[in-house]
Amino acid sequence: MNPPTRSEAQQRADDIRVFRVELARLETEGVLQLPPEQRRAVDAHHDGLLAGYAAAFDIDRDTQARQLSLGMRVASFLGALALAASVFFLFYQFWGHFGETAQVAILIGAALGSLGLTVFIQGRDASGYFTKLAALVAFACFVLDLVMLGQIFNITPTDKALLPWAALAFLLAYTCDLRLLLAAGICCVIAYVSARVGEWGGLYWLDAGRRPENYFPVAVLLFATPLMVSHRRFAGFEVIYRVFGLLCLLVPMLILGHWGNGSYLDMPAGVIEGGYQVAGFVASALAIWLGVRRSWNDTVNTGITFFVIFLYTKIYDWWWEIMPKWLFFLVVALSAILILVVLKRLRGGRSQA
Protein backbone atom coordinates (compact mmCIF):
# COMPACT_ATOMS: atom_id res chain seq x y z
CA MET A 1 0.00 0.00 0.00
CA ASN A 2 1.43 3.40 -0.95
CA PRO A 3 1.58 5.99 1.80
CA PRO A 4 -1.00 8.61 0.94
CA THR A 5 0.83 11.69 2.24
CA ARG A 6 4.28 13.19 1.93
CA SER A 7 4.87 13.08 5.68
CA GLU A 8 4.02 9.38 5.87
CA ALA A 9 6.36 8.68 2.94
CA GLN A 10 9.12 10.63 4.67
CA GLN A 11 8.53 8.70 7.90
CA ARG A 12 8.74 5.38 6.07
CA ALA A 13 11.95 6.47 4.32
CA ASP A 14 13.46 7.44 7.69
CA ASP A 15 12.47 4.07 9.13
CA ILE A 16 14.13 2.29 6.19
CA ARG A 17 17.33 4.27 6.71
CA VAL A 18 17.41 3.42 10.43
CA PHE A 19 16.62 -0.21 9.68
CA ARG A 20 19.52 -0.46 7.25
CA VAL A 21 22.00 1.07 9.70
CA GLU A 22 20.89 -1.22 12.52
CA LEU A 23 20.88 -4.27 10.25
CA ALA A 24 24.47 -3.51 9.24
CA ARG A 25 25.41 -3.25 12.94
CA LEU A 26 23.74 -6.55 13.80
CA GLU A 27 25.54 -8.24 10.91
CA THR A 28 28.89 -6.79 12.01
CA GLU A 29 28.27 -7.95 15.60
CA GLY A 30 27.29 -11.39 14.33
CA VAL A 31 23.85 -11.33 15.87
CA LEU A 32 21.89 -11.63 12.63
CA GLN A 33 22.82 -12.78 9.17
CA LEU A 34 20.07 -12.68 6.58
CA PRO A 35 20.31 -15.22 3.76
CA PRO A 36 21.56 -13.48 0.59
CA GLU A 37 18.31 -13.94 -1.31
CA GLN A 38 16.27 -12.47 1.57
CA ARG A 39 18.74 -9.63 1.92
CA ARG A 40 18.46 -8.86 -1.79
CA ALA A 41 14.67 -9.05 -1.66
CA VAL A 42 14.51 -6.65 1.29
CA ASP A 43 16.98 -4.27 -0.37
CA ALA A 44 15.10 -4.36 -3.65
CA HIS A 45 11.80 -3.76 -1.91
CA HIS A 46 13.21 -0.81 0.03
CA ASP A 47 14.96 0.64 -3.03
CA GLY A 48 11.71 0.44 -4.95
CA LEU A 49 9.81 2.15 -2.16
CA LEU A 50 12.42 4.91 -1.85
CA ALA A 51 12.49 5.49 -5.59
CA GLY A 52 8.71 5.66 -5.67
CA TYR A 53 8.56 8.11 -2.76
CA ALA A 54 11.32 10.25 -4.25
CA ALA A 55 9.44 10.47 -7.53
CA ALA A 56 6.07 11.16 -5.97
CA PHE A 57 6.95 13.30 -2.96
CA ASP A 58 10.55 14.49 -3.37
CA ILE A 59 11.42 13.10 0.06
CA ASP A 60 14.83 13.25 1.78
CA ARG A 61 16.55 9.96 1.06
CA ASP A 62 19.53 10.46 3.38
CA THR A 63 20.84 12.64 6.20
CA GLN A 64 22.50 15.13 3.88
CA ALA A 65 19.28 15.63 1.95
CA ARG A 66 17.47 16.12 5.26
CA GLN A 67 19.89 18.87 6.30
CA LEU A 68 19.49 20.58 2.94
CA SER A 69 15.71 20.32 3.29
CA LEU A 70 15.87 22.25 6.55
CA GLY A 71 17.67 25.06 4.73
CA MET A 72 15.09 24.94 1.96
CA ARG A 73 12.27 25.19 4.50
CA VAL A 74 13.85 28.26 6.06
CA ALA A 75 14.47 29.80 2.62
CA SER A 76 10.91 29.12 1.44
CA PHE A 77 9.48 30.58 4.68
CA LEU A 78 11.51 33.77 4.38
CA GLY A 79 10.85 33.94 0.64
CA ALA A 80 7.13 33.54 1.19
CA LEU A 81 7.05 36.38 3.74
CA ALA A 82 9.14 38.63 1.49
CA LEU A 83 7.02 37.87 -1.57
CA ALA A 84 3.82 38.61 0.35
CA ALA A 85 5.29 41.93 1.55
CA SER A 86 6.38 42.69 -2.00
CA VAL A 87 2.81 42.23 -3.29
CA PHE A 88 1.55 44.65 -0.63
CA PHE A 89 4.06 47.35 -1.48
CA LEU A 90 3.70 46.85 -5.22
CA PHE A 91 0.00 47.57 -5.06
CA TYR A 92 0.44 50.55 -2.72
CA GLN A 93 2.98 52.08 -5.07
CA PHE A 94 0.73 52.03 -8.12
CA TRP A 95 -2.91 51.83 -7.01
CA GLY A 96 -3.43 55.60 -7.05
CA HIS A 97 -2.86 55.70 -10.80
CA PHE A 98 -5.98 53.65 -11.57
CA GLY A 99 -9.70 54.34 -11.40
CA GLU A 100 -11.84 52.57 -8.80
CA THR A 101 -13.17 49.96 -11.24
CA ALA A 102 -9.65 49.06 -12.33
CA GLN A 103 -8.48 48.96 -8.71
CA VAL A 104 -11.23 46.53 -7.74
CA ALA A 105 -10.60 44.42 -10.86
CA ILE A 106 -6.86 44.26 -10.09
CA LEU A 107 -7.49 43.30 -6.46
CA ILE A 108 -9.97 40.54 -7.28
CA GLY A 109 -7.88 39.41 -10.25
CA ALA A 110 -4.74 39.20 -8.10
CA ALA A 111 -6.56 37.19 -5.42
CA LEU A 112 -8.04 34.76 -7.96
CA GLY A 113 -4.89 34.61 -10.08
CA SER A 114 -2.60 33.85 -7.15
CA LEU A 115 -5.01 31.17 -5.96
CA GLY A 116 -5.00 29.60 -9.43
CA LEU A 117 -1.20 29.81 -9.53
CA THR A 118 -0.98 28.07 -6.16
CA VAL A 119 -3.18 25.20 -7.34
CA PHE A 120 -1.19 24.98 -10.58
CA ILE A 121 2.16 24.86 -8.78
CA GLN A 122 0.85 22.34 -6.26
CA GLY A 123 0.30 19.87 -9.08
CA ARG A 124 3.92 20.20 -10.22
CA ASP A 125 5.85 20.77 -7.03
CA ALA A 126 6.43 17.49 -5.20
CA SER A 127 8.63 19.17 -2.57
CA GLY A 128 5.93 21.63 -1.48
CA TYR A 129 8.36 24.55 -1.06
CA PHE A 130 7.16 26.50 -4.08
CA THR A 131 3.55 25.73 -3.22
CA LYS A 132 4.14 27.33 0.16
CA LEU A 133 5.50 30.47 -1.50
CA ALA A 134 2.55 30.71 -3.85
CA ALA A 135 -0.01 29.94 -1.14
CA LEU A 136 1.23 32.70 1.14
CA VAL A 137 1.12 35.14 -1.76
CA ALA A 138 -2.46 34.05 -2.50
CA PHE A 139 -3.38 34.64 1.15
CA ALA A 140 -1.61 38.04 1.14
CA CYS A 141 -3.45 39.03 -2.06
CA PHE A 142 -6.79 38.17 -0.47
CA VAL A 143 -5.97 40.11 2.70
CA LEU A 144 -4.83 43.04 0.55
CA ASP A 145 -8.02 42.77 -1.51
CA LEU A 146 -10.38 43.30 1.43
CA VAL A 147 -8.15 45.84 3.19
CA MET A 148 -7.91 47.96 0.06
CA LEU A 149 -11.65 47.73 -0.65
CA GLY A 150 -12.03 49.21 2.83
CA GLN A 151 -9.68 52.08 1.95
CA ILE A 152 -11.06 52.76 -1.51
CA PHE A 153 -14.70 52.89 -0.37
CA ASN A 154 -14.14 54.17 3.21
CA ILE A 155 -15.70 51.07 4.76
CA THR A 156 -15.95 50.94 8.56
CA PRO A 157 -13.33 48.46 9.84
CA THR A 158 -14.91 45.19 10.94
CA ASP A 159 -13.74 41.94 12.49
CA LYS A 160 -15.93 40.03 10.03
CA ALA A 161 -13.13 40.31 7.44
CA LEU A 162 -11.15 37.87 9.58
CA LEU A 163 -13.58 35.07 8.73
CA PRO A 164 -12.98 34.82 4.96
CA TRP A 165 -9.25 35.29 5.54
CA ALA A 166 -9.28 32.39 7.99
CA ALA A 167 -11.37 30.29 5.59
CA LEU A 168 -8.94 30.77 2.69
CA ALA A 169 -5.92 30.12 4.94
CA PHE A 170 -7.47 26.86 6.18
CA LEU A 171 -8.46 25.81 2.67
CA LEU A 172 -4.89 26.28 1.42
CA ALA A 173 -3.39 24.75 4.56
CA TYR A 174 -5.45 21.55 4.34
CA THR A 175 -5.36 21.10 0.59
CA CYS A 176 -1.66 21.93 0.14
CA ASP A 177 -0.54 20.52 3.54
CA LEU A 178 0.98 23.85 4.65
CA ARG A 179 1.58 24.55 8.34
CA LEU A 180 2.43 28.21 7.69
CA LEU A 181 -1.04 28.82 6.27
CA LEU A 182 -2.60 26.87 9.15
CA ALA A 183 -0.85 29.24 11.58
CA ALA A 184 -2.15 32.23 9.58
CA GLY A 185 -5.69 30.85 9.69
CA ILE A 186 -5.45 30.16 13.41
CA CYS A 187 -4.25 33.74 14.03
CA CYS A 188 -7.35 35.02 12.20
CA VAL A 189 -9.59 32.75 14.29
CA ILE A 190 -7.91 33.93 17.50
CA ALA A 191 -8.45 37.57 16.54
CA TYR A 192 -12.08 36.99 15.50
CA VAL A 193 -13.19 34.91 18.50
CA SER A 194 -11.50 37.22 21.01
CA ALA A 195 -13.06 40.26 19.30
CA ARG A 196 -16.52 38.66 19.46
CA VAL A 197 -16.11 37.65 23.11
CA GLY A 198 -14.87 41.15 23.90
CA GLU A 199 -17.85 42.72 22.17
CA TRP A 200 -20.24 40.52 24.14
CA GLY A 201 -18.48 41.85 27.24
CA GLY A 202 -19.14 45.44 26.14
CA LEU A 203 -15.76 46.21 24.57
CA TYR A 204 -15.13 47.79 21.18
CA TRP A 205 -13.89 44.93 18.99
CA LEU A 206 -10.44 46.43 18.37
CA ASP A 207 -9.94 46.64 22.14
CA ALA A 208 -10.30 42.89 22.76
CA GLY A 209 -6.71 42.76 23.99
CA ARG A 210 -7.58 45.04 26.90
CA ARG A 211 -9.21 42.08 28.62
CA PRO A 212 -6.91 39.07 28.25
CA GLU A 213 -9.68 36.71 29.39
CA ASN A 214 -11.22 37.21 25.93
CA TYR A 215 -8.63 34.70 24.68
CA PHE A 216 -9.65 31.82 26.96
CA PRO A 217 -12.59 30.55 24.83
CA VAL A 218 -10.43 30.39 21.69
CA ALA A 219 -7.72 28.62 23.72
CA VAL A 220 -10.18 25.84 24.58
CA LEU A 221 -11.43 25.72 20.99
CA LEU A 222 -7.92 25.38 19.54
CA PHE A 223 -6.71 22.83 22.09
CA ALA A 224 -9.84 20.71 21.62
CA THR A 225 -9.79 20.76 17.81
CA PRO A 226 -7.13 18.04 17.29
CA LEU A 227 -8.78 15.96 20.02
CA MET A 228 -12.09 16.01 18.20
CA VAL A 229 -10.85 15.93 14.59
CA SER A 230 -8.11 13.50 13.58
CA HIS A 231 -5.16 15.12 11.82
CA ARG A 232 -3.23 11.91 11.20
CA ARG A 233 -2.80 12.78 7.53
CA PHE A 234 -1.46 16.27 8.25
CA ALA A 235 1.98 16.17 9.85
CA GLY A 236 2.53 18.88 12.45
CA PHE A 237 -1.00 20.31 12.34
CA GLU A 238 -1.96 18.98 15.77
CA VAL A 239 1.18 20.52 17.23
CA ILE A 240 0.26 23.96 15.87
CA TYR A 241 -3.28 23.75 17.26
CA ARG A 242 -2.03 22.68 20.70
CA VAL A 243 0.75 25.26 20.92
CA PHE A 244 -1.51 28.13 19.83
CA GLY A 245 -4.18 26.89 22.25
CA LEU A 246 -1.69 26.86 25.12
CA LEU A 247 -0.35 30.31 24.16
CA CYS A 248 -3.91 31.70 24.20
CA LEU A 249 -4.34 30.27 27.70
CA LEU A 250 -0.97 30.88 29.34
CA VAL A 251 0.01 34.30 27.91
CA PRO A 252 -3.24 35.93 29.20
CA MET A 253 -2.70 34.21 32.57
CA LEU A 254 0.82 35.60 32.69
CA ILE A 255 -0.47 39.10 31.91
CA LEU A 256 -3.36 38.91 34.38
CA GLY A 257 -0.97 37.60 37.04
CA HIS A 258 0.60 41.06 36.97
CA TRP A 259 -2.31 43.24 35.80
CA GLY A 260 -5.46 42.42 37.76
CA ASN A 261 -7.26 45.48 36.42
CA GLY A 262 -7.39 43.80 33.03
CA SER A 263 -9.78 41.12 34.29
CA TYR A 264 -13.55 40.83 33.97
CA LEU A 265 -13.69 39.55 37.55
CA ASP A 266 -15.26 41.97 39.99
CA MET A 267 -12.61 41.55 42.66
CA PRO A 268 -9.66 43.55 43.98
CA ALA A 269 -6.74 43.55 41.56
CA GLY A 270 -4.39 41.92 44.11
CA VAL A 271 -6.71 38.94 44.55
CA ILE A 272 -7.06 38.51 40.79
CA GLU A 273 -3.30 38.70 40.25
CA GLY A 274 -2.64 36.13 43.00
CA GLY A 275 -5.33 33.86 41.59
CA TYR A 276 -3.93 33.99 38.06
CA GLN A 277 -0.40 33.37 39.28
CA VAL A 278 -1.59 30.17 40.97
CA ALA A 279 -3.71 29.29 37.92
CA GLY A 280 -0.67 29.83 35.69
CA PHE A 281 1.43 27.39 37.72
CA VAL A 282 -1.39 24.84 37.78
CA ALA A 283 -2.16 25.19 34.05
CA SER A 284 1.48 24.85 32.98
CA ALA A 285 2.00 21.90 35.33
CA LEU A 286 -1.13 20.27 33.89
CA ALA A 287 0.19 20.88 30.38
CA ILE A 288 3.45 19.13 31.30
CA TRP A 289 1.55 16.22 32.85
CA LEU A 290 -0.81 15.85 29.90
CA GLY A 291 2.05 16.19 27.43
CA VAL A 292 4.07 13.45 29.17
CA ARG A 293 1.01 11.21 29.38
CA ARG A 294 0.09 11.61 25.71
CA SER A 295 3.69 11.88 24.42
CA TRP A 296 3.08 15.40 23.13
CA ASN A 297 6.54 16.97 23.17
CA ASP A 298 5.18 20.34 22.07
CA THR A 299 2.78 20.46 25.03
CA VAL A 300 5.51 19.42 27.47
CA ASN A 301 7.92 22.05 26.15
CA THR A 302 5.33 24.83 26.16
CA GLY A 303 4.25 23.85 29.68
CA ILE A 304 7.86 23.82 30.92
CA THR A 305 8.62 27.17 29.29
CA PHE A 306 5.66 28.85 30.96
CA PHE A 307 6.21 27.09 34.29
CA VAL A 308 9.74 28.50 34.30
CA ILE A 309 8.52 31.99 33.30
CA PHE A 310 5.86 31.96 36.05
CA LEU A 311 8.44 30.71 38.55
CA TYR A 312 11.10 33.23 37.64
CA THR A 313 8.73 36.20 37.58
CA LYS A 314 7.62 35.22 41.10
CA ILE A 315 11.20 34.78 42.26
CA TYR A 316 11.96 38.21 40.83
CA ASP A 317 8.92 39.76 42.56
CA TRP A 318 9.81 38.24 45.92
CA TRP A 319 13.57 38.45 46.11
CA TRP A 320 15.16 40.83 43.54
CA GLU A 321 14.93 43.82 45.87
CA ILE A 322 15.77 42.14 49.16
CA MET A 323 18.50 39.67 48.18
CA PRO A 324 22.10 40.34 47.22
CA LYS A 325 22.45 39.70 43.50
CA TRP A 326 24.78 36.70 43.94
CA LEU A 327 22.21 35.05 46.20
CA PHE A 328 19.35 35.86 43.84
CA PHE A 329 21.08 34.24 40.88
CA LEU A 330 22.12 31.30 43.06
CA VAL A 331 18.44 30.75 43.91
CA VAL A 332 17.58 30.93 40.19
CA ALA A 333 20.32 28.39 39.42
CA LEU A 334 19.16 26.07 42.22
CA SER A 335 15.58 26.26 40.99
CA ALA A 336 16.80 25.34 37.49
CA ILE A 337 18.64 22.33 38.94
CA LEU A 338 15.47 21.36 40.84
CA ILE A 339 13.46 21.49 37.61
CA LEU A 340 16.10 19.35 35.90
CA VAL A 341 15.91 16.74 38.69
CA VAL A 342 12.11 16.63 38.54
CA LEU A 343 12.10 16.27 34.74
CA LYS A 344 14.81 13.60 34.91
CA ARG A 345 12.65 11.62 37.33
CA LEU A 346 9.65 12.07 35.08
CA ARG A 347 11.68 10.78 32.13
CA GLY A 348 12.99 7.86 34.15
CA GLY A 349 9.49 6.90 35.29
CA ARG A 350 8.30 7.13 31.71
CA SER A 351 11.12 4.88 30.45
CA GLN A 352 10.34 2.21 33.07
CA ALA A 353 6.63 2.36 32.28
Binding site: F89, F98, E100, P164, N261
Partner: protein
Protein backbone atom coordinates in the same frame (compact mmCIF):
# COMPACT_ATOMS: atom_id res chain seq x y z
CA UNK B 1 -7.12 15.43 0.48
CA UNK B 2 -9.53 17.25 -1.81
CA UNK B 3 -8.77 17.58 -5.49
CA UNK B 4 -7.06 20.63 -6.95
CA UNK B 5 -10.11 21.52 -9.03
CA UNK B 6 -12.29 21.54 -5.93
CA UNK B 7 -9.70 23.65 -4.08
CA UNK B 8 -9.74 26.17 -6.89
CA UNK B 9 -13.54 26.20 -7.02
CA UNK B 10 -13.93 26.61 -3.26
CA UNK B 11 -11.25 29.29 -3.06
CA UNK B 12 -12.66 31.22 -6.01
CA UNK B 13 -16.17 31.02 -4.52
CA UNK B 14 -14.83 32.30 -1.21
CA UNK B 15 -13.01 35.23 -2.83
CA UNK B 16 -16.03 36.07 -4.96
CA UNK B 17 -18.41 35.88 -2.00
CA UNK B 18 -16.23 38.06 0.25
CA UNK B 19 -15.82 40.69 -2.45
CA UNK B 20 -19.51 40.47 -3.32
CA UNK B 21 -20.54 41.09 0.28
CA UNK B 22 -18.11 44.01 0.67
CA UNK B 23 -19.19 45.64 -2.60
CA UNK B 24 -22.89 45.07 -1.83
CA UNK B 25 -22.32 46.94 1.42
CA UNK B 26 -20.76 49.80 -0.53
CA UNK B 27 -23.69 49.83 -2.97
CA UNK B 28 -26.19 49.82 -0.09
CA UNK B 29 -24.33 52.63 1.66
CA UNK B 30 -24.49 54.79 -1.47
CA UNK B 31 -28.08 53.89 -2.41
CA UNK B 32 -30.90 56.39 -2.13
CA UNK B 33 -30.51 59.87 -0.72
CA UNK B 34 -27.40 60.27 1.45
CA UNK B 35 -27.91 60.46 5.20
CA UNK B 36 -26.08 63.79 5.07
CA UNK B 37 -24.23 65.85 2.48
CA UNK B 38 -21.88 68.68 3.44
CA UNK B 39 -19.59 70.96 1.51
CA UNK B 40 -16.30 70.92 3.38
CA UNK B 41 -13.18 72.89 2.59
CA UNK B 42 -9.44 72.66 3.07
CA UNK B 43 -10.17 73.68 6.67
CA UNK B 44 -11.95 70.41 7.41
CA UNK B 45 -10.15 68.10 5.00
CA UNK B 46 -6.41 67.85 5.47
CA UNK B 47 -4.10 66.65 2.72
CA UNK B 48 -1.48 64.13 3.85
CA UNK B 49 1.95 65.51 4.68
CA UNK B 50 3.89 63.11 2.57
CA UNK B 51 1.72 62.82 -0.51
CA UNK B 52 3.60 63.26 -3.80
CA UNK B 53 6.91 62.92 -2.02
CA UNK B 54 5.88 59.45 -0.80
CA UNK B 55 6.80 57.13 -3.62
CA UNK B 56 5.65 54.05 -1.70
CA UNK B 57 1.95 54.97 -1.70
CA UNK B 58 0.32 56.62 -4.70
CA UNK B 59 -3.15 56.76 -3.15
CA UNK B 60 -4.66 59.99 -1.85
CA UNK B 61 -6.98 60.30 1.11
CA UNK B 62 -8.02 63.37 3.08
CA UNK B 63 -8.09 63.37 6.88
CA UNK B 64 -11.29 64.66 8.43
CA UNK B 65 -10.29 67.49 10.76
CA UNK B 66 -12.85 67.80 13.53
CA UNK B 67 -12.75 69.48 16.89
CA UNK B 68 -14.16 69.08 20.34
CA UNK B 69 -15.34 72.24 22.10
CA UNK B 70 -13.05 72.26 25.12
CA UNK B 71 -14.30 73.22 28.57
CA UNK B 72 -11.09 75.10 29.26
CA UNK B 73 -11.18 78.21 27.08
CA UNK B 74 -7.70 79.14 28.26
CA UNK B 75 -6.25 75.93 26.92
CA UNK B 76 -3.88 76.44 24.01
CA UNK B 77 -5.13 73.21 22.50
CA UNK B 78 -8.75 74.32 22.38
CA UNK B 79 -7.94 76.43 19.32
CA UNK B 80 -6.47 73.72 17.14
CA UNK B 81 -8.02 71.00 15.08
CA UNK B 82 -7.69 67.68 16.77
CA UNK B 83 -8.86 64.11 16.59
CA UNK B 84 -10.60 63.82 19.92
CA UNK B 85 -10.94 65.39 23.30
CA UNK B 86 -13.17 65.96 26.31
CA UNK B 87 -16.29 67.85 25.20
CA UNK B 88 -17.52 70.64 27.45
CA UNK B 89 -21.13 69.60 26.85
CA UNK B 90 -20.68 66.01 28.03
CA UNK B 91 -21.69 65.91 31.69
CA UNK B 92 -22.28 62.98 34.04
CA UNK B 93 -26.03 62.90 33.38
CA UNK B 94 -25.51 62.67 29.63
CA UNK B 95 -22.86 59.97 30.04
CA UNK B 96 -25.16 57.92 32.27
CA UNK B 97 -27.89 58.20 29.62
CA UNK B 98 -25.48 56.62 27.14
CA UNK B 99 -25.27 53.55 29.37
CA UNK B 100 -21.97 54.13 31.16
CA UNK B 101 -21.72 53.22 34.85
CA UNK B 102 -20.94 56.70 36.16
CA UNK B 103 -21.41 55.84 39.83
CA UNK B 104 -18.85 53.11 39.66
CA UNK B 105 -16.44 55.35 37.75
CA UNK B 106 -16.83 57.94 40.53
CA UNK B 107 -16.01 55.47 43.29
CA UNK B 108 -12.88 55.55 45.38
CA UNK B 109 -12.07 51.84 45.23
CA UNK B 110 -9.67 50.10 42.87
CA UNK B 111 -12.52 49.03 40.58
CA UNK B 112 -12.93 52.63 39.48
CA UNK B 113 -9.76 52.51 37.37
CA UNK B 114 -10.85 49.23 35.78
CA UNK B 115 -14.26 50.68 34.91
CA UNK B 116 -12.66 53.70 33.25
CA UNK B 117 -9.90 51.76 31.48
CA UNK B 118 -12.35 49.31 29.90
CA UNK B 119 -15.19 51.68 29.07
CA UNK B 120 -14.51 52.45 25.41
CA UNK B 121 -17.45 51.80 23.11
CA UNK B 122 -18.77 52.85 19.74
CA UNK B 123 -21.29 55.70 19.60
CA UNK B 124 -22.72 58.05 17.01
CA UNK B 125 -21.03 61.44 16.91
CA UNK B 126 -22.82 64.53 15.61
CA UNK B 127 -20.45 66.96 13.87
CA UNK B 128 -21.67 70.50 13.25
CA UNK B 129 -20.25 72.55 10.37
CA UNK B 130 -19.76 76.32 10.94
CA UNK B 131 -22.43 76.51 13.60
CA UNK B 132 -22.78 77.77 17.14
CA UNK B 133 -19.80 75.75 18.39
CA UNK B 134 -17.55 77.44 15.84
CA UNK B 135 -18.99 80.86 16.71
CA UNK B 136 -18.28 80.04 20.35
CA UNK B 137 -14.67 79.24 19.51
CA UNK B 138 -14.32 82.57 17.67
CA UNK B 139 -15.87 84.37 20.60
CA UNK B 140 -13.43 82.66 22.97
CA UNK B 141 -10.56 83.83 20.77
CA UNK B 142 -11.91 87.38 20.75
CA UNK B 143 -12.29 87.43 24.52
CA UNK B 144 -8.78 86.14 24.91
CA UNK B 145 -7.47 88.87 22.60
CA UNK B 146 -9.42 91.53 24.54
CA UNK B 147 -7.99 90.18 27.78
CA UNK B 148 -4.44 90.27 26.41
CA UNK B 149 -4.97 93.80 25.08
CA UNK B 150 -6.16 95.02 28.48
CA UNK B 151 -3.15 93.42 30.14
CA UNK B 152 -0.80 95.02 27.64
CA UNK B 153 -2.38 98.44 28.04
CA UNK B 154 -1.90 98.19 31.82
CA UNK B 155 1.83 97.45 31.32
CA UNK B 156 2.74 98.83 27.86
CA UNK B 157 6.46 97.94 28.04
CA UNK B 158 6.21 94.30 29.11
CA UNK B 159 7.62 92.18 26.26
CA UNK B 160 5.81 88.98 27.26
CA UNK B 161 2.47 90.82 27.21
CA UNK B 162 3.21 92.22 23.74
CA UNK B 163 4.00 88.68 22.58
CA UNK B 164 0.87 87.38 24.29
CA UNK B 165 -1.29 89.91 22.46
CA UNK B 166 0.36 89.00 19.14
CA UNK B 167 -0.32 85.31 19.76
CA UNK B 168 -3.94 86.05 20.64
CA UNK B 169 -4.34 88.06 17.38
CA UNK B 170 -2.88 85.19 15.37
CA UNK B 171 -5.14 82.78 17.16
CA UNK B 172 -8.24 84.80 16.32
CA UNK B 173 -7.16 85.10 12.68
CA UNK B 174 -6.54 81.36 12.53
CA UNK B 175 -9.93 80.67 14.10
CA UNK B 176 -11.70 82.93 11.62
CA UNK B 177 -9.86 81.88 8.46
CA UNK B 178 -7.98 78.59 8.79
CA UNK B 179 -9.02 76.22 11.56
CA UNK B 180 -11.63 73.55 11.06
CA UNK B 181 -15.23 74.63 11.54
CA UNK B 182 -16.37 71.08 12.17
CA UNK B 183 -17.21 70.52 15.86
CA UNK B 184 -18.51 67.49 17.73
CA UNK B 185 -21.69 68.76 19.37
CA UNK B 186 -23.49 65.63 20.55
CA UNK B 187 -23.25 61.87 20.85
CA UNK B 188 -25.89 59.18 20.99
CA UNK B 189 -26.73 55.61 20.16
CA UNK B 190 -29.90 56.05 18.10
CA UNK B 191 -29.53 57.56 14.63
CA UNK B 192 -33.21 58.44 14.21
CA UNK B 193 -33.43 60.43 17.43
CA UNK B 194 -30.15 62.23 16.72
CA UNK B 195 -31.32 63.13 13.22
CA UNK B 196 -34.64 64.37 14.64
CA UNK B 197 -32.66 66.61 16.97
CA UNK B 198 -30.34 67.81 14.20
CA UNK B 199 -32.48 67.75 11.04
CA UNK B 200 -30.26 69.91 8.81
CA UNK B 201 -28.45 67.30 6.74
CA UNK B 202 -26.23 69.91 5.08
CA UNK B 203 -24.83 71.14 8.40
CA UNK B 204 -24.85 68.11 10.72
CA UNK B 205 -22.77 65.06 9.89
CA UNK B 206 -23.36 61.89 11.91
CA UNK B 207 -20.51 59.36 11.98
CA UNK B 208 -19.46 56.45 14.15
CA UNK B 209 -16.81 57.17 16.74
CA UNK B 210 -15.45 55.94 20.03
CA UNK B 211 -16.26 57.29 23.48
CA UNK B 212 -14.69 56.27 26.77
CA UNK B 213 -14.98 57.42 30.34
CA UNK B 214 -12.46 59.80 31.85
CA UNK B 215 -12.00 61.69 35.11
CA UNK B 216 -10.97 65.32 35.17
CA UNK B 217 -10.66 68.11 37.70
CA UNK B 218 -13.31 70.72 36.84
CA UNK B 219 -14.69 73.57 38.96
CA UNK B 220 -12.51 72.51 41.91
CA UNK B 221 -13.84 68.95 42.02
CA UNK B 222 -13.16 65.65 40.28
CA UNK B 223 -15.90 64.75 37.83
CA UNK B 224 -16.52 61.84 35.50
CA UNK B 225 -16.63 62.83 31.88
CA UNK B 226 -16.12 61.26 28.47
CA UNK B 227 -13.25 61.30 26.04
CA UNK B 228 -14.35 61.37 22.44
CA UNK B 229 -11.74 59.44 20.49
CA UNK B 230 -11.16 58.28 16.97
CA UNK B 231 -13.88 58.23 14.32
CA UNK B 232 -14.50 54.84 12.70
CA UNK B 233 -13.65 56.34 9.29
CA UNK B 234 -11.43 59.38 9.69
CA UNK B 235 -9.78 59.41 6.25
CA UNK B 236 -11.74 59.73 3.04
CA UNK B 237 -10.30 58.35 -0.18
CA UNK B 238 -10.16 60.77 -3.11
CA UNK B 239 -11.51 59.02 -6.21
CA UNK B 240 -9.07 58.90 -9.10
CA UNK B 241 -11.27 61.11 -11.29
CA UNK B 242 -11.20 63.91 -8.69
CA UNK B 243 -7.48 63.98 -7.99
CA UNK B 244 -6.55 66.57 -10.61
CA UNK B 245 -6.99 69.67 -8.36
CA UNK B 246 -4.68 68.13 -5.76
CA UNK B 247 -1.98 67.25 -8.29
CA UNK B 248 -1.21 70.94 -8.89
CA UNK B 249 -1.12 71.94 -5.21
CA UNK B 250 2.25 72.56 -3.57
CA UNK B 251 3.33 70.06 -0.93
CA UNK B 252 2.54 70.89 2.68
CA UNK B 253 5.46 72.70 4.27
CA UNK B 254 4.28 72.94 7.86
CA UNK B 255 4.95 75.80 10.25
CA UNK B 256 3.16 79.17 10.64
CA UNK B 257 3.59 80.16 6.98
CA UNK B 258 2.00 76.98 5.63
CA UNK B 259 -1.08 78.26 3.82
CA UNK B 260 -3.52 75.61 2.77
CA UNK B 261 -4.48 75.87 -0.93
CA UNK B 262 -8.24 76.43 -1.09
CA UNK B 263 -10.62 73.74 -2.31
CA UNK B 264 -14.08 72.44 -1.53
CA UNK B 265 -15.25 68.86 -1.43
CA UNK B 266 -18.81 67.65 -1.27
CA UNK B 267 -18.82 64.80 1.23
CA UNK B 268 -21.82 62.49 1.37
CA UNK B 269 -22.51 60.02 4.17
CA UNK B 270 -24.58 56.98 3.27
CA UNK B 271 -26.93 54.48 4.88
CA UNK B 272 -24.11 52.76 6.78
CA UNK B 273 -22.66 56.10 7.89
CA UNK B 274 -19.67 55.64 5.61
CA UNK B 275 -18.55 58.81 3.80
CA UNK B 276 -17.38 59.37 0.25
CA UNK B 277 -16.41 62.38 -1.85
CA UNK B 278 -18.95 63.33 -4.51
CA UNK B 279 -17.24 66.38 -5.99
CA UNK B 280 -14.12 68.50 -5.62
CA UNK B 281 -13.88 72.15 -6.60
CA UNK B 282 -11.27 74.87 -6.58
CA UNK B 283 -11.83 78.65 -6.81
Amino acid sequence: MISRKLTLALGAALIAAANGIALSGVAYNRSGEPESRLVLSQRELERPWSWRSNKENSGLSLALEWRVPAADSESDYSYYSSHGGIPAWLDEKRIAELGFDVERAKGDDARRDKTIAQSERQVLVVLELAGNAWQGAIEQARQRLAHQQSLRQASPGAKELIDGEKRAQERLAREENESSRLFAVDVGTDLASLRAKYPDRSRYLILQGNLRLDRIYRDKKTVVTGYLGKLAVDRINVPHAMRAPFESMPPRAGGPNDKKPPFTATVAVGQRLEPWIEAVGTP
